[in-house]
Every structure is written in C-alpha cells, then in structure tokens.
C-alpha cells in the first residue's frame, strides 16, 4: 500500500462538499501532510474525515501575530498523519467544533478554549476543563499578550464545577479526590451509583496543571528537552524523544544512527519498566499480593540496572536534542542482553502462575469491558486500543527510525477487558525484550549525538512517538533567535481518559481501582 492513498479520496469528497483548499504541503510539517482550509469549513471537514474513517488525534492553536491564531487539527489513517490548518481572527475567535463527530476532540477543544479563548460553536459541552479558579475566565494564558505573572496567593478550590447530576430513588453520589487514597496522582471522580453498580462516572481533571506550554516558551532546545521529560515522569523518555524529534525536524538537525538506536533502546526499557510495575499493581488491586511483590521486584532490578548504566533510575534527561547523553560499552551491551533473558524467563514463569489462578481470572475477565466499536469511536490508543481490537502501533504503522528497519510485532486482541489489557502488556514486554536484543546486536558504531544548531529563522516541526501508553504527538515552533515560541504535547492519556468513563458503566464500585489501573491514564501528562 502506498502512503497517503486515502488522501486523494478525502480531498475529492471535500471538494464535492465545496470545502475550499488553499494549498497543501508534504513539507510544511513532514512527515505529516498539511492542508490549508477556511475556518468556516472546520466542522464540515471533520464530517468528511469521519466518513473516511480517520482517527482524530489533536487540536492546537499557534498565535501568528496580534490578530491571528493558526488553528491546527491532526488526523491519522493507516499510519499517515494529516494536519489541517486555518487562520482564526483573534478578535472574534469562533469556529465550528469537531467534537460532534469526533468525541475525542471534546476535551482538547475545551483545553484550547480555556488557554486561548477560542470558542467552538455547537460544542456538545463547553464547560471549562483545564481552567479551575486560579485565573479569571477572561484571561487566556497562552495568548502572547498575556504575561501570566507568578502569584503566591492560594487560588480557591473549584468547588462549583457543574457536574452531571443523576436523580431517582436509590441513586447516590460518591465524590472521590482530588487527593486519592493510594499513592497516585490527583484528580476527581464523581460516581453515581445504585447499590454497588456504577450508573455513571464523570472525570474532572486539571488539578496538576503546571503551565507547561507557557513556561516552554522562551526556552532553548536543551531546556525544552528537560521540561518535556517532566510532562509525565513515567513517560520521560518518550516525551523527551518526541519533543526532540519535533525540534530536530524543525531545525533540520540529524541524529547519528547510534543515537537513534540508543533512543529506541531507552524507550523500550521505559515500556518494560511501566508494564512490569502495572501488571503487579493490577493484580494488587484485586488482592493478589504475590504478583505485586514479584513484579515490583523485577521492576526494581530493571531500574537498578538503569541507574548503573544510564545514570538515572527512570532514564530522565538521557535524550538530548541531537542525540543521547549516554553511550554503551560492549560489556554493558552484554549486561543488558543478559538481563533481557532473565526478565523473559521470570515473566513467563509468573504469567503461567497468573493464568493458573481462577480467582484472579474471576476478577479480571470481563471487568471494565471496552467494545471494539466504542474504542474506535473514542479513538483510543496504546494497550487500551490493542486489547479492544484496534491494531495500531506507530512503530510498525508509522515506522520511524530505527523501527523502520525492524520487524515490529504488536499484540491485538478482541475481548477488551482488564484481563486482556494485562495480556497485551505482558506480550509487549516480550516483544520489547526481543526488539532490544536486536537493537543491541545491530547497534551502529559512531557518535551518539550531533551538536545542536539553534535555528536562525522561524521554523516548526511535528513529532510522533509510540510511548508505552500509546501515541504522543508534539508540536514545536522556534522563533528567529532559536528559542521556543510554541510547544504542544498531546499525551496518549487525552484520548484514553474518556474511555474509562465508558468502560466502567455497569461495573461495581469496588472494581473501579482495578479498571482504572488497567487504563492508567496520566494526570500530569494530560493536565500539562
């Protein structure tokens, strides 16, 4: 199949519907294809894109000058990315919403609404999202003329957020959070339940909003890489890689082949670490302490090796613009391969024990079911998608280096329950271990990084990476002095959080923790 062979059909359909194109480009945000349209056609285009069964990925604004915001929306089909762009007058910033056809656009559009003061007409839910009470409704932090001073004043809690209400005899409400009982990130869950059965769950996020997009502005490339590594600490490698990829594409800086291989090795290590920890934690949430203790032991061994070889237990700041910071000796390569073999043996042993336990099966099978239909409709990614029959993995379907030269095996199942999501993660560990062996065997000689050359003219770039949770998309724009003038990172959690609200319906309240853990959305990655 040739690349983008669906695009001409989409364009033809749009033209039939009188959508005007003001040029297109394969270079502007390569490898994505860009189409320029009128802002009036923003909603109509989404209808056509849905008709062609593309997946909605992201929306972000870039302020071009005092008068104009450039709106961007990103779609994917068969591993090819399309970005549509349209200028929007900042003084009457109203455009049609894409959320009526793409539910995934709902919260990201509300994010743009809160941060840029963009108004989406016919949006199904225009309540505030990332904004709580720390700044005024009329203030839009990401507009260029807004200074957003730091304040030592404690902002009031967002007590009056208009939650969905349910009434009826026997219906009661359980508010949970922002401070949760476990050692996890803060967010709020509002349940309506009858007896033990959950009727409705509503998520309220934004509690850990740190202003990342704003404080990215004015940084140099190295500074942005550091910040990106802290968007979501469990995904530090993939976020840094994605931001660096966008910066390198913008500034036209190549990464030496050895550096690229090492980046992939780091990303696979991050995948394995998180999957190991989460398999244990999922079992722990149904009271199977043995698995938690075993898997957290493996995770610890894994992290200790990282601390010795890569100088950081979680691999923070190992990727830098232009390459990576840590090289491997041949002896270290040997140590790593040996560890792959050990983990593989232990994992197989443990999975056999897990599969042996009828009581575990009883809790995990059929819990938190997400149908294929819903997974497609919501546009979820990563293990959540793969467990519900959506067979997408960027490493294979949008193959970027070094994966483009490798055989990528990606699991896909149909059952869509907690047990299946756990199985996907176990499979992914095995695949990653094999991949890492290949990476080490084929590790090219040479430099691990090229010197970063700050761009001297305005430029922009887009990065796409398959993180352990699924697809990350990062957009970067440099000003003419080589400093960041816009940064947007779409964590996979944006697409996966809404699925939790759906897959929990009809489950019992005590199963919420395990269902939640099986999705494991990032709060920090989402709240930015």
């Amino acid at each position: 199949m040739s690349r983008f062979d669906w695009l001409s059909e989409l364009i033809a359909r749009c033209e039939e519907e009188h959508i005007l194109f003001h040029g297109g480009s394969a270079r502007e945000l390569a490898p994505a294809h860009v189409l320029h349209i009128d802002i009036e056609d923003w909603g109509k285009f989404a209808v056509m894109a849905a008709e062609q069964q593309t997946r909605w990925c992201a929306v972000w604004a870039v302020q071009q000058d005092e008068e104009t915001l450039l709106m961007n929306a990103c779609f994917e089909k068969q591993g090819d990315y399309l970005v549509i762009r349209a200028p929007l007058d900042i003084h009457s910033p109203v455009l049609p919403s894409q959320a009526p056809v793409f539910p995934a656009a709902n919260r990201p559009e509300r994010h743009s609404q809160d941060m840029f003061g963009v108004m989406f007409g016919n949006h199904p839910d225009s309540r505030r999202w990332i904004r709580h009470q720390a700044w005024d409704e009329e203030i839009f932090p990401l507009r260029k003329d807004i200074r957003m001073a730091h304040s030592d004043q404690v902002a009031p809690a967002d007590t009056y957020y208009p939650f969905f209400q349910a009434q009826g005899s026997g219906v009661y409400e359980i508010p949970v959070g922002p401070v949760h009982a476990g050692i996890i990130e803060p967010g709020h869950f509002r349940f309506q339940a009858v007896g033990e059965t959950i009727l409705n769950l509503e998520e309220r996020l934004g509690y850990v909003h740190k202003g990342i997009e704003k404080i990215a502005e004015g940084r140099d490339a190295e500074g942005l890489a550091k910040l990106a590594g802290r968007i979501s600490g469990d995904t530090t490698v993939a976020h840094t890689w994605c931001a660096c990829m966008a910066m390198e594409r913008a500034a036209n800086v190549a990464v030496p082949r050895r550096g690229i291989y090492l980046r992939a090795l780091l990303a696979e290590r991050e995948r394995v670490a998180n999957h190991l920890g989460d398999i244990g934690a999922i079992c722990n949430d149904v009271g199977f302490a043995f698995a938690n203790s075993q898997f957290s032991r493996l995770r610890e061994i894994w992290q200790r090796t990282q601390s010795v070889i890569f100088k950081h237990r979680l691999l923070m700041d190992t990727i830098v613009p232009g390459g990576v910071k840590v090289d491997l000796s041949s002896q270290q390569c040997e140590t790593l391969s040996q560890q792959h073999a050990v983990i593989k043996t232990e994992l197989n042993e443990l999975m056999a024990i897990l599969n042996d336990h009828a009581s575990l099966e009883d809790r995990l099978v059929s819990a938190g079911h997400l149908s294929h239909e819903l997974a497609t409709k919501l546009g979820v990614v990563g293990y959540l998608a793969k467990a519900s029959g959506v067979d997408y993995d960027l490493r294979r379907d949008h193959a970027y280096a070094p994966y483009d030269r490798m055989n990528i095996d990606s699991p896909c199942y149909q059952q869509g329950d907690v047990a299946t999501r756990l199985q996907v993660r176990a499979d992914e560990i095995i695949h990653s271990l094999i991949l890492m062996d290949t990476l080490l065997q084929q590790l090219p000689d040479g430099d691990i990084a090229n010197t970063w050359k700050p761009p001297v003219a305005i430029c922009e770039g887009l990065g796409m990476v398959e993180a352990w949770r699924g697809e990350i998309i990062s957009y970067v724009q440099f000003d003419a002095t080589g400093k960041i003038s816009r940064f947007y990172a779409r964590d996979p959690s944006w697409l996966n959080w809404p699925a939790l609200e759906q897959l929990i319906d009809g489950n019992i309240v005590p199963d919420f923790p395990v269902c939640n853990k099986s999705v494991n959305g990032s709060y920090s990655g989402h709240d930015l």
Partner: protein, 168 residues
Amino acid sequence: MLRLFNKIRKTGMVTETIAVDSDLQALGIEVKSVINKRFAGSFAIRAVDSGSCNACELEIHALNNAFYDIERFGVHFVASPRHADALLVTGPVSQHMAQAVLDVWEATPEPKWLLAMGDCAVDGGEFAGSYAVMGGIAKILKPDVIIPGCPPTPEVILKAILGLLHNT
C-alpha cells in the same frame, strides 16, 4: 498453586540491609526504637501529590518493594491524613491543588510533620516561576525536612524519613 510456592522459594529473600552505608542500618535500628517508644511501633505517612510529574510517586512505590520494604522499620503509608503522623508532599504545589494540600494538612492530627520530597516540592524545580504553581511547599506550609532530587532515589527518601524520626 505449587508453582506459586515454588516461585516464592526460588526468589528467596531480596530485602536488603540498606548496607550501602552501614550508618543507615544503625540508623534504622535506632529509629525503630524511637518509633517503638514514641509512636507505639508505627509511624504513618500520607503521601500527597501536589502536582508532581508522577516520577516521585514511582519512587515512593519503590520504597514498598521487597528490596527496601520500609514497613520493617515501622513506617507505613496510610490512606487518610487523619491516620497520619506526617505528610510526604511531592510536586511544585499547583495552584489547582494548593487549597487541597492545605485541607489535607488541616485534617492531619497534631503532632505532625511535613516532608517536602523532590526538587519540585523544595523550590518548584523545573516548574519554578510558572503562573500555575506556587513553587514549592514552603510557599504555603513549613516543611520539617526537605528531600532534594529529581526524583530522589528510594534510598535517599528512606534516609530522610529515618533522619526525621531520629531528630524528633
């Protein structure tokens, strides 16, 4: 089932004497005696994420794995601040969490201690200066112990907790 027991037998005991320096082991023993005397054998910590990136939380989790097994010193993590002797705060205190953190502190019974964990909690770390964060727990409450690092390793956290107990 047999396979499970076999695995346990084969794994053996991995819990370590934190012997990277022997001081720590000595400190552990001493602290255990402080906890026994002053906290009836158990010191309860409530972890509060005030807007962290979640890496600090991962390392708190590690404290409970079989290698560090912090509970053997009588230190354990509790679900409610009302059951806690100390709060372990991570993150730069986002504006959206600041009030909640104050409420949690308020709900913690006296006598109580506050530990600021990670560069973010110490001074805002990578997020210092942002409109959306207070820039460290000290902006709203006075920490008794600060634990720098991004994130601090489990060993460093363990030492800091034990050190706090030692000094109270």
